[in-house]
Symmetry: C2
Subunit: 252 residues, 2 copies
Amino acid sequence: MDGRRGGREDGDAGTWNGDPRRRGRGVALGHRGQPTRGPRPALTLAGIAGAAIRVADEEGLDAVSMQRVAAALDVTKMALYRYVASKAELFAVMTEIAVGEPPVLSGVRGGWRRKLERWAELLRTTWREHPWIPAVTLGDRLMGPRETGWTEAAVAALEGTGLTGAERMDAVSLLGGHVRNTRSAAGTQPWTADRRLSPLLADLVRRDKERFPALVAAIDEAGRRPDDSGWTFGLARILDGIEQLVASRSGD
Amino acid sequence: MDGRRGGREDGDAGTWNGDPRRRGRGVALGHRGQPTRGPRPALTLAGIAGAAIRVADEEGLDAVSMQRVAAALDVTKMALYRYVASKAELFAVMTEIAVGEPPVLSGVRGGWRRKLERWAELLRTTWREHPWIPAVTLGDRLMGPRETGWTEAAVAALEGTGLTGAERMDAVSLLGGHVRNTRSAAGTQPWTADRRLSPLLADLVRRDKERFPALVAAIDEAGRRPDDSGWTFGLARILDGIEQLVASRSGD
DNA sequence: ACACCTAGTGTCCCACAGACACAGTTCCTC
DNA sequence: GAGGAACTGTGTCTGTGGGACACTAGGTGT
């Protein structure tokens, strides 16, 4: 089953050169600079990444081993190293493909706020389909052009607001960070743990009522809330904050 | 060197029972419920966690292997499993110890905003000393009592603001998330990569000026900025947003 | 003195990332 | 058309990691 090779998960993802200190040949996400000498490649970078993405989506990031991905393509693990210099690079390519083409916000009416709102929602949707993205995009790494394209779109939406360049970038960072947090923070806060994890922490909190009185009060008062409560709340707060800054700028 | 055992990194961290489905004996972060039968333990949970924390602080989280930690304590790797059920549990104990005692904000004058500001700064400081914490506190997991105590402190600061219980929790989540992001997002955004990583991405962005015009403009206008620019910006925006909500509530 | 519990050890297994040499392909050049 | 040259996928090997399990040595109750 699923023994198909390659897999055209994606047609053209631009010029993504992976780790250039290792591979001089023009490596792109598909056909590009094919050397004309040896046997034809049985795989494509996009196909490999696609298989890896499928594994990650279905079984989690930890299930993504070179072995596993290779098996899904009916190849040996070492074959993958012809396309990818390391597992880290595989993750990079996976990310670049999974984030998809950056959105076009010019069609969104209503000024920067509506545009950013839309941008954040789209990003959130994309990341929801690939829950492993937050974990992979953590720490020092290279960003691919599509990923950069997402940032570009958001920064562009803030042009003409009177914010400085640094402020525009910080604002986008802030918003993107919120998406990341609400996508990856399951269980990080006690109430989310309360909702989905063992009742252990809830026990701890409730048993030590005198130790966490404010928390107990808040939890009891909150009751059942929708899953995306933190998302909408934070989004509104952040945009309100930015709006206030924008207003103060145009008030000069 | 550093062959000292135990290590009293921490005196009393409360009742942290790790994974209770596995260990019935009263395991605390130090002396507690010592059985009186066999040979004296050569180690303590706190000592082990302390050694692991030291490794993580100095060489990064990836350097924390059972072998490595055991070696630092002059013990076999398997000896650690007498104190810890799994590596995940070791991480949990490390975190619980590393976050430290939650702050007391009652001494902070100036209302909830100043309190939260202080809270966030303290959290940030703590996390700065242990840069691995964001990575470890990601995903589903249990929160220890001290960690919960941090949340408690922040939620308590919001009492009397007119916010609902859910809003109080969401606000704290939002703030904590911001700390997490500005602590772990190095290289996640193109300009931070620009600053500290290879010039590769900067090249990409600049070479494709026509592809990322808004980004180029923002970067050029921003120039050199302090490292914590994103931090202070986001903090101010978030607090402004919360303040607006608080105001609207008291205006009812 | 003996039994019983307990702590650290030694040995084993499996999964994983990656190095490296090799064999089979395909085209370019003489 | 015959050899390379260049290249792709394979087989094999090493090192490192987490963890299971049986065992030995140490200490305390009866």
